[in-house]
Subunit: 683 residues, 2 copies
């Protein structure tokens, strides 16, 4: 039927093209070429989702100058649509109702609410192509006929097969008691929501609405040990309509994941209580995002969840005890497909739940989702993804080979185990600068715009007080203390400074740095133990990365993505100064925010991403640091602070280099050159 | 690999054969040829289900005389099995542990408990080949390994894929929280129950047991308006282990289906109450059959349900109101796949429910199941299947064309609308003979062995009294009254008899026959109105059959199956005398009992039967009698009793032919010859 004599149709921005006979609807041509154009009504001209721009343009060899001759004229269906729903944007047509009359360039627009194909991530500009598991299918069903006594549902299925090509559709049980009323309410026109994540099962009818239902929503949720974050997205436009977060109520059972495992081990109903708590919190967030966006929770038709292995297990009602000790056996590592009702979530009765696979016993679905988002596995150059919590999850890869491990950083980076550490909250010190001459600090606290040396700071800070140092503040104060020579590269507080400067003072058997005086409480100080805690944490992180670099046999990483809240707030520059991560061009070190949440949203909006991360997780080489003899060696070597001043000229200008301790070069080095200063521990 | 030089293996009783290399396990050879041998342990020699008999015999061309040389010797696995489980029957081998050493005849035995492949139906000798939706798969799973951190479930799935060939297995949600404990309880050996009814979805892991689980059960249930009947079968042996029945508790909402629909229409929670009632009753039966057979309800892994359309809808929680009036629209007519937990049934959490399709608004899943059992759709000759209740469901078919309809017989055949009618219960008259000379009756009642003229009857009958006439008794008394000349072929009670015999007496404006005197209550009589009610009922039934015969363009049926309780208890001879069914050789008229229950059991034990009945129901031509103008004509013509005395010589000997009423032949006949006596109604 088609041949080179038929008009050439080019779709932009994909550039896909083909020849189609005159009279072919543009929507049909797009489908044949695999160009994704949404359509809920199946080409009846009533949903308005299939809008395209038939563009002016000149094909040299055809000498076309006018569009009007090459697309069919304004159709009755388009008139009916615009009469009812208002005019289309200039140049727009309904591709179902516009036929090919000659060569055309057809643009799939990305900027209308009704047909937005892409969403932009909060923190980067990557586009998520939409291919959700849910398809909304409008059909007009035959009325019952005594001569052909097929059931209501059976006639509906026939029509879905005829109009949308789904044969042998499965049907969620809860539809059965509703189908009669919905068909009659819709006067035999209904919109069927088909779940077609083929990996799960055959396409399934999961929801049914009377008449044309021109909307469908999904949620993506990252269940962190501390915070649960949720996004509500339109599955039809891809837009994120609302986001919300809440504290994980499991905190009352235990601050970190290991204390929660202990709680389960010591309390017979510990797992059930925590499972219930997290599901309740998730249900609360569902209500919250729905209220914010004005969406009915029963219109949420798909959902994706991620979390670290223990959060993942507790959410699914699985006892996490096995994850508390070697061999850290996951009950399930692969992707989980289940139903919202099976895990007591309040959405539509037919809503499915997809849970991204876990990588290993310490590297969970959240790390897998971050991998999906940051895609080290598809990069040409070696890319490092780090997500720091109580454990650091580390993924290092490039196309063809990806490795992952978890490293026991402990909670120091989150402000725990630090004498004046605290969670990130108003009043917490998050930014620090220390004058290397006077050792006087200036700070910024969460909730106040000004630096402490700017007018208005005291007044603004009075509201919250200055209560402690949060994770990013700890990184900064450590780096600034190092750059100001208060601590040396082995992390020892220079007691000689105490003689000339009251900021450094004797504090029990060691010396501390007084960062801030608080009028109605103890001063905020940084102790020798605090420095040690951060050294241990950063050494663990670095040793994990180093291990993977050795496995990759690559001396250098090209790109570093710092994920999670910690990654978002620390200054990459200070991460490099302290040696948290290996050397890298500073412009290639990026905070990528809640990459796990972004990955979850990607899997929500495009089922191809589900297959991608399942396949990737299968291929990732999982390294268990506890089994690697080199890990301890790397750890010890990474305790010191590297001399990075030459790499940060701007910093160099304001700092006096710390006195290098005199030692015979190489005296303690082994066969391999010492890359990161001395490895004496405890100074 | 294989060629004609390899030994020839013949499997009996199927006769399937092929050449296999020396050393091939017999089980493998059977699988390759499609010979079904059960195996739970996957060839490890521990389940004992794969027993065969390697037979002595002589292949002429091979000149074999000794078996010993042609099958491998007794194996270590067999020794281990018999040490643990006791000896095998003489001549038996485990086919997984016995290899081919030369030509062999291998018999798949049908008579052991552990490997019984067939069940025999209560009322006929048809064999149900077993191919259940559930396969039990024993696997030994790798222990967790920190180097390869796959989850417990994921390693289990890998092993199922390796040993049993199921890839991309779906997993029921409820398994997730159990998998860790079960694997550890079984010391990493478990038996997985795989549901593999492919029409439903991909193969799914629905239950998991530690160690070797050498059993799996299923239930087949027929939900009648009056009675619910259930069979518990072993899915591995096919044996029926227990059967039970109970009254449908919906009876308190309405005696027949239409009064239950009315109840739903008048009571807002009517449907919910009846749904709950029937599900509770089904759960009670599950407990009952399990207790009887000593089976744990959680070991029931599959289930099949049938019922008439209104029972079907109420069971599924669907409002049946639409079925109460034209166009009698079913909410769903196709097969329904759901989960026991979704409809509140107490079996295993992973148990699926399969519901056989409905044929039409008045012809339900019970009729479809009876069709599966009696298979008119596969017969060479025209076969009639009739199931009589408040409606008669009629299926008439032969290979290539099957028709079905429902005919409104009303409840007269069940004893309702008959002055002295009652349900079949102890004390009800079920057999009647009338002496044509004296008009004296003899009777038999339910619960008493003797006829009323035999010694001991009075004493035995005293226990219950003689309370009324049940359905089969009504048929007999009508036929006997006709044969004794008490009623003529138009159904008029012969008032002239009253002059000479007190059995016939004036009873209001018409005459009645006194069937039995009861000492402490009114006599049991048959009135003119009773005769009319039966005439109407049998005319409706006959007219439905006649309509389908005309559609088939066949003047004669070759075989008649009378299904249901009514069909079981009536004497086919009397059915022919009264003209309930068309002429047929009496030896080809058979009561087939609860054919619907048998069909349900067939669908339970063999998933191919599910596909068969789905396909058959799709193809059946559904006739709505209310839309057929001919139906009324057939109905009127069928009111009279046919003169069948020439067909029943044994009867003829004891009867005096009733006087034929004089009328001018053909005076009232239309174009078509009158086939069945006059069509005057009401005499």
């Amino acid at each position: 039927m088609k041949n080179g004599m038929d008009p050439l149709i080019i779709f932009t921005p994909s550039g896909k093209r083909g020849h189609f006979p005159v009279g072919t609807p543009i929507l049909d041509a797009a489908r044949e070429l695999g160009v994704y154009i949404e359509s809920v009504c199946g080409g009846r001209g009533i949903c308005g989702r299939c809008q395209v721009e038939t563009q002016f343009g000149k094909f040299a060899k055809h000498g076309i100058e006018s569009l009007e001759e090459n697309a069919s004229g304004w159709s009755a269906k388009e008139t009916r649509y615009t009469d009812k729903r208002g005019p289309l944007k200039d140049g727009r047509r309904l591709s179902c109702s516009t036929t090919i009359q000659g060569p055309l360039v057809v643009d799939i627009p990305a900027d209308t609410v009704i047909n937005q194909q892409t969403i932009r991530k909060a923190v980067d500009t990557r586009i998520i192509t939409r291919n959700p598991a849910i398809q909304m299918c409008y059909v007009e069903v035959d009325e019952p006929d005594m001569h052909k006594p097929l059931g209501d549902l059976d006639r509906l299925k026939l029509m879905i097969e005829k109009d949308w090509g789904y044969s042998d559709l499965l049907v969620s049980q809860h539809i059965l008691p509703q189908v009669q009323q919905i068909l009659r309410d819709g006067k035999w026109a209904v919109t069927a929501a088909i779940h077609r994540d083929l990996k799960t099962s055959r396409p399934t009818l999961i929801a049914l609405s009377p008449g044309l239902k021109n909307e469908a929503y999904g949620i993506a949720c990252d269940i962190g040990s501390t915070t649960i974050a949720m996004h509500l997205s339109s599955l039809l436009s891809g837009q994120t309509l609302a986001s919300a977060g809440t504290s994980n109520p499991q905190i009352r059972f235990g601050e970190d994941v290991m204390s929660r495992v202990s709680y389960v081990m010591m309390n017979p109903d510990g797992q059930a209580s925590m499972t219930k708590a997290v599901r309740n919190a998730v249900n609360g967030l569902i209500e919250q995002v729905c209220t914010e966006a004005g969406v009915d929770p029963t219109d949420i038709l798909d959902s994706v969840f991620v979390g670290n292995p223990i959060m993942h297990h507790l959410f699914l009602g699985i006892d996490p005890t096995e994850l508390g000790g070697a061999p850290f056996a996951l009950a399930v590592s692969g992707a989980v497909h289940t139903w919202a009702t099976e895990i007591d979530l309040h959405m539509n009765e037919g809503t499915r739940v997809y849970i991204i696979p876990c990588i290993a016993g310490h590297v969970g679905a959240d790390a897998a989702a971050a991998t999906l988002s940051e895609s080290p596995h598809t990069e040409q150059e070696l890319t490092l993804l780090v997500d720091v919590g109580t454990n650091a999850e580390i993924v290092l890869g490039r196309e063809g080979r990806t490795l992952a491990c978890s490293s026991p950083t402990g909670p120091a980076f989150e402000g725990a185990e630090i004498s004046c550490g605290q969670r990130a909250a108003p009043g917490a010190i998050e930014r620090v600068r220390i004058d290397p001459q006077t050792l006087e600090p200036k700070i910024r606290i969460i909730g106040v715009e000004q630096w402490s040396d700017e007018p208005g700071f005291s007044e603004a800070a009075a509201a919250t007080g200055i209560t402690g140092i949060c994770g990013s503040g700890i990184i900064e104060v450590m780096a600034e203390m190092f750059l100001a020579g208060i601590i040396d590269e082995d992390g020892v507080v220079d007691r000689s400074k105490a003689a000339t400067n009251t900021r450094v003072f004797e504090d029990g058997r060691t010396f501390s740095y007084r960062l801030w005086e608080t009028p109605d409480g103890p001063d905020i100080r940084v102790t020798q133990n605090d420095v040690r805690a951060i050294q241990m944490a950063k050494a663990a992180l670095y040793a994990g990365v180093k291990l993977l670099m050795e496995k990759q046999d690559m001396p250098q990483v090209s790109k570093i993505s710092l994920a999670g809240a910690f990654g978002t707030f620390i200054d990459p520059k200070y991460a490099l100064v302290l040696g948290l991560v290996p050397d890298c061009e500073i412009e290639n070190v990026k905070a990528v925010g809640n990459a796990a949440g972004t990955g979850a949203r990607m899997a929500l909006l495009n089922r191809d991403h589900r297959r991608e991360i399942e396949e990737t997780v299968r291929k990732i080489e999982k390294i268990e640091t506890a089994l690697e003899s080199k890990f301890q060696e790397h750890f010890v070597n990474a305790m010191a602070f590297p001399n990075k001043v030459d790499r940060f000229p701007r910093l160099e200008m304001q700092v006096k280099l710390p006195q290098k301790r005199q030692e015979p070069e190489g005296a303690e080095a082994g066969d391999r050159p010492r890359r990161r200063g001395g490895r004496r521990r405890g100074g």
